[in-house]
């Protein structure tokens, strides 16, 4: 495909996503569900940045939860600006990712996945037991909602107006697309791909394998922390079992696997398809236990579409 042709579909997608709410045909429920689909798509992309180096993490809830608590606590105790809090969340996520990069630098494959899985328990247990700071398993409530932007006649209430929130999350997601795009289509992205396909050969050809892996992991942890911080302000309340959950660790994995891990728009596609199906269809059919859908999707994708649906659709399109 030529680059120009490659841009047609995304441009078309953006047009629809921007135009549809403006057309007045959408309801607040649509804004809410699609907005959260953007949010989880963004989170999935942050996960994928490190997964692209071959480091499949089952513990990104650690960064997410740390980010959420950094934003939640600073908001709770000092009422600092949510945007600053979100940034602090990213920093805390980044610091924890630095620890991973340092400690887990020799772990690969299943070992790395296990270590990442176990790493969630440490901040989770801390948040659960440090009652005086975090109010323990009861969680933090009353975190400030996102602020309202006053532009003369326009009041953009990101906190209350779901349409405004929709556009904020669309912009947030677009920012993550940019990061994700740079991790695939750039000199750095090539280095990441080399590391994923054969570390030893990559090193022999001049790729600084250790640095590439660490950079990707730290960037990924930082951005996942930002997602967590934003989540705290979106929801207004957090608790350890929610933000350090297995479900949050699994979510980016499922969405990326489903959409296609090596495609720029793969994780996002996964989110835009699966999250609405989950919320609009399964949530009403199965009020309890609908989260099992994500587990089921892992199994189905792995057994039947190992390259993700994007690649599968492309192949079908070509052969047809």
């Amino acid at each position: 495909m030529k680059p120009a042709k490659q841009l047609i579909l995304p441009a078309f997608g953006v047009l629809i996503l921007v135009g549809w709410p403006l057309s007045g045909l959408s309801t607040d429920m649509h804004h809410r569900v699609l907005g959260m689909a953007f949010f989880y798509g963004a989170f999935a992309m942050t996960w994928n940045i490190s997964a692209l180096t071959g480091a499949v993490s089952l513990g990104h809830a650690a960064f997410f939860g740390l980010g959420a608590y950094a934003a939640g606590l600073t908001s709770h105790y000092w009422q600092i600006s949510p945007f600053l809090g979100v940034l602090l969340g990213g920093l805390l996520g980044g610091v924890y990712a630095c620890l991973w990069a340092l400690l887990f630098k020799n772990l690969r494959g299943a070992r790395f996945a296990l270590a990442s899985l176990a790493s969630v328990e440490i901040p989770k247990t801390l948040a659960d037991n440090w009652d005086s700071l975090t109010s323990g398993s009861l969680g933090l409530v009353g975190i400030q909602s996102l602020p309202t932007l006053d532009l003369g006649a326009w009041h953009i209430a990101w906190g209350d107006d779901l349409k405004a929130q929709y556009f904020l999350l669309l912009a947030f997601m677009s920012m993550m697309v940019l990061f994700h795009f740079r991790s695939i289509r750039s000199r750095w992205g090539w280095a990441i791909r080399c590391v994923r396909e054969d570390e030893l050969a990559a090193a022999g050809l001049g790729v600084n394998v250790g640095a590439v892996r660490a950079q990707a992991l730290i960037l990924s942890g930082f951005l996942a922390g930002i997602c967590g911080g934003l989540y705290a302000h979106l929801m207004g309340m957090i608790e350890p079992a929610l933000v350090f959950s297995l479900h949050l660790s699994a979510m980016p994995l499922v969405l990326s696997l489903f959409g296609g891990r090596y495609e720029v728009f793969g994780p996002l596609l996964g989110a835009l398809v699966l999250y609405p199906i989950d919320q609009l269809l399964f949530h009403s059919l199965l009020p309890v236990g609908h989260a099992g859908l994500y587990g089921l999707m892992i199994i189905v994708t792995f057994l039947f579409f190992p390259q993700g649906i994007a690649a599968w659709l492309q192949k079908r399109g070509k052969s047809a």
């Binding site: 499949v56 494959g109 996945a113 296990l114 989770k124 297995l246 792995f302």
Partner: protein
């Protein structure tokens, strides 16, 4: 106090060994990394609970029934996992991670999030409170765990099938060349593992509360002990179970039981970093031949 600690870590540890045994067998022989191990144990526990509550089956009878039912589940699981591609370890880990979520939500749907407990097996012949250190339930738990471990040990070390299984664990390719049907050994491993999971379930339900999302904890336990002991080593697994039982009991005593998960997580990370050979089934091969 110390006696109590040792007694409780002994009973906990013996049960941990039973939990780890099935995981270790399956992983050692097929390289399948079953992250749904704990959830399968919970499933077995809930099955026993359903038999007991729904059909009024005596608790003791649920044990053999679960031991017959779970192998069917695991052998079906094996049929699916065989189609997973390389890197097999990582990919089975991810698929069973998905299975774990499915099972958790299915159990949530079927049994709700309430805590369920199976009654202790009935021992009318034992006078109540006959021993101050171990209660009858604990003795029952220890006896069955040790019995199962011993039976597995005998099977692995003193039968022809066991020899084939151990050969498959140690040198998979060599075993294949020697005419051992490695694929069928995989089925055997999953069936055996399923039997052990089936046994562990009702025992779990008698000593701890059944809860749909409790599965990851026994999974973690199984992985820690497997890395510590090395794959398929029954005696090492027993020792590992006791040590882990002691460390967790002691940590619960000193720090409080709410820090238990963190202790287990730190132990796992430490083992992954310090004992990288713990997950190898092959003997460490010589580096780079010239």
């Amino acid at each position: 106090m110390l006696l109590q600690l040792i007694a409780s870590s002994f009973s906990l540890g013996s049960f941990y060994a039973l939990i780890a045994l099935g995981f270790s067998l399956i992983f050692g022989i097929t390289r399948a990394f079953n992250l749904a191990h704990g959830d399968l144990i919970l499933l077995s526990g809930y099955l026993a609970y359903a038999l007991y509550k729904g059909l009024g089956a005596p608790v003791l009878l649920t044990l053999p029934l679960c031991m017959l039912a779970l192998p069917i589940v695991t052998v079906v699981l094996h049929r699916f996992l065989r189609h997973v591609r390389e890197p097999f370890e990582l990919n089975t880990l991810v698929v069973t991670f998905g299975l774990s979520m499915v099972l958790q939500n299915a159990m949530l749907l079927a049994f709700s999030a309430n805590f369920r407990l199976l009654p202790k097996a009935d021992f009318t012949m034992l006078p109540p409170e006959s021993t101050p250190v171990l209660n009858p339930g604990q003795i029952f738990l220890i006896a069955l765990s040790l019995l199962a471990t011993a039976a597995t040990h005998v099977l692995l070390h003193h039968t022809f099938l066991g020899k084939a299984l151990r050969a498959t664990i140690q040198e998979r390719e060599a075993a294949r060349l020697a005419g051992i049907p490695v694929e069928r050994m995989g089925v055997v491993a999953f069936a055996l593992g399923g039997t052990l999971i089936g046994l562990a379930g009702p025992l779990y339900g008698q000593s701890a509360y059944l809860q749909p999302f409790a599965g990851p904890e026994p999974t973690l336990t199984a992985i820690i002990i497997t890395i510590f002991a090395g794959v398929g080593r029954t005696r090492g697994i027993l020792l590992g179970g006791w040590i882990l039982g002691f460390v967790e009991s002691a940590a619960a005593l000193v720090l409080g039981s709410s820090w238990r998960e963190m202790v287990a997580a730190v132990l796992l990370i430490a083992l992954l970093l310090l004992r990288p050979e713990g997950l190898l089934t092959l003997r460490p091969h010589r580096e780079s031949k010239a």
